[in-house]
């Protein structure tokens, strides 16, 4: 079965408002299908109440919708149980949760956290903060200037003092897929835990957290056609069971007294306060929307767009694609011999083409590649070959103009 992006596009009301928009910043955030918007609205109109209050029926409906969303996420990731799914504000908060909760309980002076050189700042800074508090040390797994991973360095650094390996499933800045299966297996042999940042993977790959051997897996709803303000932490049940709460408040407690408080079991222990209920419902609708597509056909479609883009870029002088020898998510990161990425983006914007420029919150990676900014083109299901053609033509003309 193949996939018709024009039919999919009709699910996205934003394009009704901007019919000429070529939106190529999907790695930053995707547009939202009507099904997601409808699900949130439907929730507010028919089931809105606070959750986990059992004294009236409406709250039961809200709780069912919220816990139903948790089940949907668990199925989407093939988690062992819905209790392994914690709702957060996004990938960033999910990583901070692990760093603070798991990190404060498990890290001691001299322990090491290995963080890959591809990481988004969201998967670097929380580790630096918890390292500063616990006396642990953050070490980088280097990236070669061509964008490939230094596996040898990884393996040699994988010593008994390494307690956690933090790696991205796919780089948001250059797209490179990390060999997460292989890295996780090696980490486990060495006795380390593994956190995988799936922010750039979930919209494109079938993710099976059990097959990957992830101890923790995180993603953001808004990058997978869902709402902002909601994200997911998957954590293995036996790890979550021993982790202390991070934030305190309602919903995460078992019993509170001034003599001492006991905490709820996961996932509740990690969801202090009123959770993003409608957003969870919206996220579940997004995952349902995505799961109903032929995922293999979708992957093929996105790969086809990349192949067209790559072929077109080869014909434009003065363009370099970063990490070109690596297997990548459907995004391309470009630099130009004679133009600043920001300037190119301004001219593209003049033609209704939206791309992202800058360091993409991945400064260590850009330093390793020896560049100080790129122009990033990133695809989603609704992008078309016409989008690629318009981008290529506008890019060629812009570079000529700026030469």
């Amino acid at each position: 079965m193949s996939l018709n992006p024009l039919v999919l596009r009709a699910d996205f009301p934003l394009f009704d408002h901007y019919p000429d928009l070529v939106y190529l910043d999907n790695a930053a955030t995707t547009q939202k299908p009507r099904q997601v918007l409808d699900a949130e609205r439907h929730f507010y109109e028919t089931a809105n109440a606070n959750v986990h209050r059992s004294s009236y029926r409406l709250s039961g409906l809200a709780t069912d919708a919220f816990e139903g969303a948790r089940n949907t996420v668990a199925r989407f990731l093939n988690a062992g149980s819905a209790d392994e799914i914690i709702f957060t504000r996004g990938a960033t908060e999910a990583i901070n949760l692990v760093a603070n909760s798991w990190g404060s309980a498990n890290l001691k002076p001299g322990d090491e956290i290995l963080v890959s050189g591809y990481e988004h700042h969201a998967n670097i800074v929380p580790w630096q903060l918890i390292a500063a508090q616990t006396g642990a040390i953050v070490r980088a797994i280097p990236v070669f200037p061509d964008g490939t991973l230094d596996r040898t360095s990884f393996l040699s650094q994988l010593q008994p003092q390494v307690k956690l390996v933090a790696i991205t499933h796919a780089s948001n800045a250059i797209g490179t897929h990390l060999p997460v299966l292989e890295l996780a297996a090696a980490a486990h042999v060495a006795g380390a835990r593994v956190l995988i940042d799936g922010a750039q993977a979930v919209a494109h790959e079938n993710v099976d957290v059990q097959a990957l051997g992830a101890d923790f897996y995180v993603f953001s709803g808004h990058k997978v056609y869902g709402p902002t303000g909601i994200g997911v932490l998957y954590g293995k049940a036996e790890l979550l069971a021993d982790m202390p709460p991070w934030q305190g408040g309602g919903d995460m407690i078992d019993k509170v007294s001034f003599a001492g408080t006991t905490f709820a079991a996961p996932p509740g222990r990690f969801e202090a306060g009123t959770p993003p209920i409608a957003q969870a419902v919206g996220l579940a609708a997004a995952l349902d929307w995505l799961s109903k597509l032929d995922r293999a056909a979708l992957k093929q479609h996105e790969a086809h767009l990349c192949a067209l883009l790559d072929a077109g870029l080869r014909k434009i002088p003065g363009v370099r694609v970063l990490g070109a020898t690596t297997e990548r998510a459907p995004l391309r990161s470009l630099i130009f011999d004679n133009a600043h990425p920001y300037d190119v983006a301004q001219f593209l914007d003049g033609r209704d083409i939206a791309v992202r420029v800058g360091k993409h919150c991945a400064e260590p990676l850009l330093d390793a590649l020896g560049v100080n900014g790129t122009l990033r083109v990133s695809f989603a299901a609704y992008n078309t070959t016409a989008d690629v053609e318009r981008f290529l033509q506008a890019l060629a003309e812009t570079l000529e103009e700026l030469a």
């Binding site: 600043h340 920001y342 300037d343 301004q346 900014g373 103009e401 700026l402």
Partner: protein
């Protein structure tokens, strides 16, 4: 400072913006450029008319930090007027800098502090740059210049 370095700095301050080119002249050129693409094109052209800064002045002290592009700014007092020179690795941003220089270069502290740069840029159809990304937004650069105008001369 070596004689050669001093000479380069003099050249950087000897740009035409706020001197031979005044606000009315720039307003006219920007008004004539309709549409976003034409304005971007004009900004790139204006950037060509700005000599920029010598390499040794493109340092961390003079940098106005930002993510998407880098801006460097230097100021000094000359006969009671603030002189301003600037550069960027982006040509569109460098073009915008010519507007800031036209507004502020070679003016008294009082003139600098009284000028409404936002209203002027808005009237030129460049309001989107006022909301541009944190740090190296045009606002941040204008703020740096206004701060410099509050430092005592000499």
């Amino acid at each position: 400072m070596s004689g050669a370095a001093q000479h380069e700095i003099e050249q950087a301050y000897a740009h035409p913006f706020g001197a031979q080119i005044d606000r009315a002249a720039l307003s006219q050129r920007l008004d004539a450029a309709g549409g976003w693409e034409a304005k971007s094109r004009l900004l790139v052209q204006l950037a060509r008319e700005l000599p920029g800064l010598p390499e040794q002045e493109k340092n961390d002290t003079n940098r106005v930090s930002g993510c998407e592009s880098t801006v460097w700014l230097i100021t000094r007092w000359q006969d009671g007027r603030l002189q301003v020179a600037a550069d960027s690795d982006s040509r569109v941003i460098k073009g915008l800098l010519t507007l800031l220089l036209t507004a502020y270069h070679n003016r008294s502290a009082d003139e600098i502090q009284r000028f409404d740069i936002e209203a002027w840029l808005a009237s030129l159809g460049l309001v989107r740059f006022l909301s541009a990304s944190r740090g190296n937004g045009i606002r941040a650069i204008a703020t740096r210049i206004i701060e410099a105008s509050r430092q005592p001369a000499g």
